[in-house]
Symmetry: C2
Subunit: 700 residues, 2 copies
């Protein structure tokens, strides 16, 4: 955003609606500003006061004899518009609108918000809110919220669409001693949103990790662009709650039905490298780990424990998260064997046993940290017998410093008897949990982020393919003029053919003789299908006859279909009958497209055929900017891939040709935003090439 | 066990290896016993001491002038056997063997343990351990462990196979003020195991919930019996770690390959109503909820919150757990609307807004508790603005008392500012978490338990079916005499037919003419298959020819198959060629069986055909005692069920006939323990009846 770098560090600000009355927001906020050590100029505005909390108070903005960079609104909603006008005239750049009573209260509020924003837009003012608790920057420092407490300095930026969650986290963090760089309350996101503050936090040298709690994304394309860049520099961890309200995920196609409500977010987050968590604990467990430990170089985890049970639990979790238990070098194993008691575990987990004092832990650390096959170390301690939690913590801290490239996480499982050791670890930059599971989950999240960070830059689209845009435009023109949204099969076949996707030849005919002539030309066998945008289930009305071998059979079938359809649907006037060349059977796949309001077209791929909704073997990606690697991944994620590679001795099919279908359908979907849904089901995949059979295209 | 009711309350006990040296286990344990308020007689045994911790010490057991009910071993392993002999001679009933150095250290230890147990068995002594930290009963009271600390009295029984986890939990619980009824360390489980202590805890009036951490189950059938009874009375929550070591889950059949390593445990736990959790936090979150709140009457959850975000998060979790958001009565909604501010949420979640003091919470509680459509209430509080955590907690406690049948769980999301309110809730029997997710998870676990508790009693097996046991025995006799483990297809078809499962008629022939005669008799078309236990993949060696329509075709096919097989496998002498009547195609299902060492035969059911390993749509149950309801459930869990009910306009198939296949295969598997694996794939299901086609049976 154009306020980047200065939003949280204004030279001067006005608190409009500042108050002398304790308990009022305008009092709490001003008091926080003063208490936070903010170095800029503060101008309280209140027509009824001369002085507030020791600062001279001005009756209005116009009376302030100075430039004002930021205005913070602590006034009733009904005064918002006139105050915005005053801000605009005064040349204020940024507004923080604490004021509630806008979109969140219903239609009247939404209209007020719209009007308010039109004033702000007119003056080019950027707005945080309305309906926010404010923001904090511990490094400026500034506390522009009305909440109690100011967190310690730290390297976590926290962006929250819920003010209450922000209040909870602040309260909890202060008790737990967790520090932040910046904290933003997003409120109604009338202007500035998570995208702007993610961008700001990426450029902020004091921020190492960006956390978001959001309920929706309001600027899909910008989000994708900004966050994809952000995650190459810093981890972005998002807790997204609420099921998607996106009405654009229509369910009339197979692809749309499979996409479901939350899929667009998952797909978008995957695209731009966001770590999505599903609960609040994970959000902060990960944050603490990111700020205090280096990213794991790889996914090989070593566990050092003083007891078997937690070691087994942790090993289970390592496997469940798709990480790997490190296989120690021969030397490591020999050294461990030479020193440890016979009953100790010397492979991985290293179980130093319940009677281990620090010396045994220390020896294990030394060997395990040294081992080049180890990327990260999880230390687990139970309070058994002779445990020395503080000394052992010191030893772990020492090795962590000596091997700064290795990721170290710990779990001290117990209460008071381990508390001092646990506190020492935490304060020395080694995250310390109370259970083994979150320790391993933290390693898993960090490893996942490392992989995302290292993902190759988005490739250029393959440009040597030129679709026949004229054909597509001409067909869409005709369809629209015909007052239809659904394309006929023959039209849909022409569309995909124009994008270089091999479709079973499909031609519409108006008479038995024409049908026979077309069949002669296509070659037998053929299938005849009724052509009508009004008939959804052609087979059910006797509208499809397959496997026709001669001109005579085609003519008879033509008459039969017309009769059948007339009997079932006497009012429908068909467009004719489509003759489709029957293709040899291949592996049945589906490639489809559905469209999300925020993130645009989603491409789906998976096992096709009549069981597609039953098996639900479909993977999705965003069509916009789809890369070859994403296509490979989406194919490899499906069960269809096992078939394609050659299942049970069959020959593999032409995976490259299938990839091209996906790529070109994505291209079609992005070239023509009026396409709302596509189902190509089945696509037959062969040893050599593919054929698209049933193609449904719907326009908006 | 025969010690039930007295194990943790012995009249007299001896501490063998008691010591005056602080730091020694024999000192710590005796000191704990004395400190715990144990009322029975304690006899320290140590030949080198006259008095220990104020008690007279005896040189040996034989010297004690009294009966001794329990002996606690704090001696080195090498002395264990002679000491066991002494205990036996003295008439000791129960041994608690703290001593380590047995099975856990390897082969020598395992042999020692075996020898030790043979002495104990000879005297009929029951053994806890070896390699345990001991046990605790807070109500006796007795602390027979060497751990630090004694937990408060409570209603949680905790049984742990890991001594270290027990130590951790004890330490943590004492810090957190969580009480226990009984705590057992299981150690090597040479004799007494989780089964015995679950049984004891069920009968214990002081225990409301039973928690277990286990790494394996050693007495499968007993576990199933005891725990199934236990869970009808009290919840049993188990954290089972470690992947199954069970070598009996062989992977040579489809069913076996799909069963995987952890499936037998999941299936067994499901059978006997265990709540399985996957991490330690869940174990204790659930325990606290079970001891302090009533079971939910149904799955309708109301949420009362002072902020939207956490309300959304909780709603997401309610849906994710398969619970339902309560739909309030009209009256409730009207009353809420009449009182709450316009912006408040009055449906569900009830959002009393950030500026709510106790009065608004109180009003919401009143209406929501009163509503008969609400089974459980989750209260969420963020520390915003004017929050009154203590007063609001008091209000919630009051309503919880007034409506004792409703389940109430809370989450106070914050730190110090909510701590007093949170502590008040916890101490008043309303579990209070710091995040919304575990609060909803607790409701979900309790609801799941209520459903399991209410499950109908196991039905009697249907007895009006009499399998033809003679035929099965005769075939198995022949197969074994032939030195084979794999049955021929024709034999397998006879086996399942003997259990009333319709198999495609399959008869073996020794010559082209005989084959043609059999085909004439069966009716055409037929398929010919090479019959040989040595040929796994018959199609690959040209050993299968389908769709034969005449006697002539059958004779030719016979010769061709013999030639094909001879060419590929010149050394194999086939048993002949099987003629199978070709059956009309139906829905392809698989019914199979694999065997687990602990829990016996597992029956699998799902989508069959050649893609069975690809689609992996198979549900499992224990064969032993399989009920009609379990069969219905296992069918309904699969995607195959959608097909069976009539997918996309098809007619439904004969689900009853399919159920019978499952039931009878289960019966076969339990009747004949020598069957290690069965695959019936495909079973064709028709509108009327079924046909079993390819049947593979393997014996041990």
């Amino acid at each position: 955003m154009d306020t980047a770098g200065s939003f949280t560090n204004p030279k001067s600000l006005a608190v409009i609606g500042a108050s002398n009355t304790p308990g009022k927001i305008g009092n709490a906020l001003l008091s926080n500003l003063l208490g936070s050590g903010y170095k800029g100029k503060i101008y309280p505005i209140n027509p009824k006061e001369k002085e507030i909390l020791g600062l001279p108070c001005f009756p209005s903005l116009a009376d302030v004899p100075d430039e004002i960079e930021m205005a913070i609104f602590c006034i009733p909603a009904r005064k918002a518009i006139e105050t915005a006008e005053e801000c605009g005239k005064k040349g204020v750049r940024n507004l923080v609108v604490i004021t509630a009573g806008f979109k969140e209260i219903g239609r009247a509020g939404a209209e007020l918000e719209k009007e308010f924003m039109s004033v702000c837009d007119r003056y080019g003012m950027r707005v945080l809110g309305p309906n926010v608790v404010g923001f904090i920057d511990t490094h400026t420092p500034i506390n522009a919220t009305f909440l109690k407490g100011f967190p310690p300095k730290g390297e976590i930026a926290f962006i929250s669409q819920s003010g209450a969650i922000l209040a909870s986290i602040l309260d909890w963090s202060i008790s737990a001693g967790i520090g932040y760089s910046k904290i933003y309350s997003l409120g109604n996101k009338a202007d500035l949103s998570e995208v702007d503050f993610i961008a700001e936090a990426v450029d902020d040298p004091n921020t190492k990790v960006i956390l978001c709690y959001i309920e929706d994304v309001t600027h899909g394309p910008e989000f994708l662009k900004v966050v994809a860049e952000a995650t190459r520099k810093k981890p972005v961890v998002i807790l997204k709650s609420g099921t998607s309200q996106s009405g654009a995920l229509a369910a009339s196609s197979h692809t749309g039905a499979l996409a479901g409500s939350d899929l667009a977010y998952n797909t978008a987050f995957k695209r731009c490298g966001v770590l999505r968590v599903t609960n609040m604990s994970d959000l902060f467990d990960l944050a603490i780990s990111f700020v205090s430990q280096p990213l794991p170089k790889g996914d090989r985890v070593a566990i050092v424990t003083n007891s078997g049970g937690p070691g087994i639990i942790a090993t289970d979790r390592v496997e469940a998260h798709g990480l790997h238990m490190a296989r120690f070098a021969k030397e490591t194993i020999e050294e461990l064997r030479s020193y440890m008691p016979a009953e100790a575990g010397i492979y991985n987990p290293v179980d130093v046993l319940g009677d281990a004092k620090t010396d045994r832990f220390n020896y294990a650390f030394e060997k395990v940290f040294k081992d080049e096959n180890v990327d990260s170390i999880v230390m687990l301690m139970c309070p058994v017998a002779v445990t020395e939690p503080v000394d052992t913590a010191r030893s772990l801290i020492e090795f962590s410093r000596r091997y700064p490239e290795k990721t170290v996480i710990s779990a001290m499982m117990g209460g008071k008897s381990l508390a001092e050791g646990a506190a020492l670890l935490s304060s020395s930059g080694i995250p310390c949990f109370s259970m083994p599971e979150p320790a391993v989950a933290a390693i898993a999240g960090m490893t996942a982020y490392r992989k995302m960070k290292d993902r190759p830059a988005v490739e250029d689209r393959i440009t040597d393919f030129k679709p026949d845009l004229k054909t597509v435009k001409a067909i869409f023109y005709d369809v629209k003029r015909d007052g239809r949204l659904a394309l006929l099969g023959s039209e849909a076949a022409e569309i995909v053919s124009a994008y270089g996707i091999t479709a079973a030849p499909t031609i519409i005919s108006q008479s038995p003789d024409e049908a026979a002539a077309i069949a002669d030309q296509l070659g037998y066998p053929v299938v005849l299908k009724i052509a009508s945008p009004k008939i959804m289930h052609k087979t059910d009305v006797g509208g499809v006859i397959r496997d026709l071998q001669t001109a005579e059979e085609v003519k008879n079938a033509y008459v039969n279909i017309i009769e059948n359809v007339h009997r079932y649907l006497p009012k429908v006037v068909p467009y004719g009958i489509e003759i489709q060349k029957m293709m040899p059977k291949g592996i049945e796949l589906i490639v489809g497209m559905t469209r999300d309001v925020q993130f645009g077209p989603l491409i789906g791929f998976g096992l096709g055929g009549i069981f597609v909704n039953l098996i639900k073997d479909v993977s999705f990606r965003l069509a916009q900017g789809l890369t070859s690697m994403e296509i490979s991944d989406m194919i490899a994620e499906t069960k269809a891939y096992s078939l394609m590679k050659g299942y049970r001795g069959e020959k593999p099919v032409d995976i490259l040709a299938v990839s091209e279908v996906i790529r070109r359908l994505a291209l079609l979907a992005t070239d023509f935003p009026e396409i709302t849904e596509v189902d190509v089901n089945p696509v037959f995949a062969y040893e050599d090439g593919i054929a698209a059979l049933d193609i449904k295209i719907t326009l908006s």
